[in-house]
Amino acid sequence: MLIIKNLKASIENNEILNGIDLEVNAGEVHAIMGPNGSGKSTLASVLAGREEFEVTDGTIVFEGKDLMEMEPEERAKEGIFMAFQYPVEIPGVSTTNFLKTALNQIREYRGLQPLDAVSFLTHLREKMKLVEMDQSLLSRALNEGFSGGEKKRNEIFQMAVLEPKLSILDETDSGLDIDALKIVANGVNQLRSKDKAVIVVTHYQRLLNFIIPDFVHVLYQGKIVKSGTRELALELEEKGYDWIKEEYKSTLV
């Protein structure tokens, strides 16, 4: 589904990604872990198409198409969704209205009929249950005055509504208490299927107790320095990141 080769990206001439190779297939859940400043969120942003980052080398191919050629909205229409680490507040824009417009633009792109008001609301209600989202949040302006937990839940709710093929969760666990974490993870798990993939970017192992990954990658200094299975995450939880850093340094000598 997603093939990243030798990806290098920088912001204001600072190289942050330093040659990433990663392959994600349908049905898989990949966790990207790593210490602060290792480039995890940059990788997520580059995949979503944030323009501040300049891709200096490498390729990203999504379902056979060159992702680098696509505007952020085209990526969304192709089926990529990023749950933001810091969802933006947009006063005056109602969540319902925004999501209906987004969903129908995506449907149009895929050659589907737009949903009318009634079927859209049915679709919305169904997805609300999934993340135990309160009806009142829908009539409010997008994320305006939402608590940290409500914002993150709203991200997963949007993901459920838009039904992407590849979801990227950028530190969705940060700022969540354990109950909210369970709800969010539960929502993600219900959306897992054999034709969808998920990339979970996280600093801590905690979220991975609830969303069980098939693969775990450790990012350090803009490179994937170690890959493994779920056990790697547990090992990191226990030992921290220092041994990874040491191991990486010794390979450089």
Partner: protein, 435 residues
């Protein structure tokens, strides 16, 4: 150039006085003397610094002649409201009976057409109701009094209904020399309520210079919603002064929507003459093409315990030039004044400009005043967020602009006006979604 404009107006005034078909001679004479003290604004005038009105005044101005019904030949139905309401249609500063519906006896409003009054009646009316206070010595207020030939007088009483009153000011004149002065006077008697919507409209061929003046007397305990919608397509200049005199415990909500106009200037003056007045000034301007739209506002707190709140927002596109100036005066004995002001702007292109200036002058010491002005582009983070959900760039921008403007539209209480503005502004902003 500046000197000659004053001379041109002096000649015109003498001619006008000889014809003697407007306001009483002495009233006009005094006003013209006051005008001559300040003179026509030139490029050095601070108040008209960004609005070069001297370059757009006719070289040989012609005053409007008296006509039977200026709208007799026009097909026009600019009705904003299908329900029962009072519609007053003015074409080139003259009332068109054909297009107006004002005879609603059950409304209990007193409506007088100044043009139809005898000179004695007009003098009495002016003496009773025109204690014009020219807070910033604006020369156009004096010119309006000097050349006053036509206007409308509307009076509400406690017993009158609250049927909205719509005034449509339509420009059809094409002559660049046409100089039109018109006065709208609204008097709200004690504890009465009213809705007044003023709609300014023109087609592409319109021209000339319009100097309109609206005066509102909000009596003790009265409440008024005042709407001003400006959507002009012609080349004419509109100079619009609005004075609102508020008495004890009165409440006035003012809405100004300037949607298009080659040269458009509003001087909105709130004069809080007694205690416990409340005033809200909402404004939205969309400056597109080569339009110049200038909103000057003044809130003059003369007495203690009054509250004023101002919120103006603007979107500047293409080569549009926007100007906002917000004066707040708090006079020495206006203690316990609360006065707030905010002006936010979004500039969409490199060649659009906005000049914004808060101007607070406070002589009292126990007051709460604040002001803020921002100018920027659309927020990139918000834009990216929307696009990352699949909205194309154009739609995402329109959605954000809609949200920006909607904060002001949302305050409107009169539904037909709200629906009309929602529709028109969404169209201007390229916002095409259902709700």
């Amino acid at each position: 150039m500046e000197l000659s404009l004053n001379q041109v107006l002096k000649d015109l005034f003498e001619k006008h006085q000889k014809q003697n078909n407007g306001a009483p001679a002495a009233y006009a004479e005094q006003a013209f003397e006051r005008f001559m003290k300040t003179g026509f604004p030139d490029r050095k005038s601070e108040e008209y610094k960004y609005f070069p009105v001297h370059r757009h005044f006719p070289e040989s101005p012609l005053l409007a002649e008296k006509v039977e019904d200026p709208g007799a030949h026009l097909v026009f139905s600019p009705k904003l409201d299908d329900r029962e309401a009072i519609h007053l249609v003015f074409i080139d500063g003259r009332l068109s009976e054909k297009h107006s519906s004002r005879d609603l006896p059950e409304a209990g409003l007193e409506i007088k057409h100044l043009n139809q009054l005898s000179s004695t009646e007009l003098r009495e009316l002016l003496e009773d109701h025109l204690d014009t206070y020219n807070v910033n010595n604006d020369p156009f207020i004096e010119l309006n009094s000097s050349f006053l030939r036509d206007g409308i007088f509307i009076k509400t009483s406690k017993k009158s209904s609250t049927l909205p009153v719509y005034c449509y000011y339509i420009t059809s004149a094409e002559d660049v020399n046409s100089f039109r002065n018109f006065r709208t006077i609204m008097v709200l008697e004690q504890d009465s309520r009213a809705e007044l919507a003023e709609y300014f409209f023109s087609e592409e061929n319109a021209g000339g210079f319009e100097n309109f003046f609206t005066e509102v007397y909000a009596g003790k305990g009265s409440r008024l919603n005042l709407y001003r919608i400006q959507h002009k397509r012609g080349k004419e200049v509109l100079l619009n002064n609005i004075n609102i005199y508020q008495k004890e415990n009165s409440l006035v909500n003012s809405f100004t929507f300037s949607l298009s106009g080659k040269m458009l200037r509003n001087n909105l003056n709130f004069l809080l003459e007694e205690e416990n007045c409340e005033s809200h000034l909402y404004g939205f301007y969309f400056v597109d093409g080569d339009d110049v739209i200038d909103n000057h506002t003044t809130v003059d707190h003369q007495k203690p315990n009054c509250f004023s709140n101002e919120n103006y927002k603007g979107i500047l596109d293409k080569n549009g030039k926007g100007i906002f100036n917000g004066k707040i005066y708090v006079r020495q004995n206006a203690q316990k004044t609360n006065a707030f002001q905010s002006n936010k702007n979004i500039v969409l292109t490199d060649s659009a400009t906005i000049n914004t200036k808060p101007q607070l002058e406070i002589w009292a010491d126990d007051v709460k005043c604040s002001h803020g002005a921002t100018t920027g582009q659309l927020d990139n983070h918000q834009l990216f967020y929307l696009r990352s959900r699949g909205l194309d760039e154009r739609t995402a921008k329109a959605l954000l602009l809609h949200a920006f403007a909607f904060e002001i539209i949302d305050k409107i209480e009169l539904d037909p006006v709200k629906d009309y503005l929602t529709k028109v502004i969404n169209k201007l902003l390229g916002y095409q979604f259902d709700n």
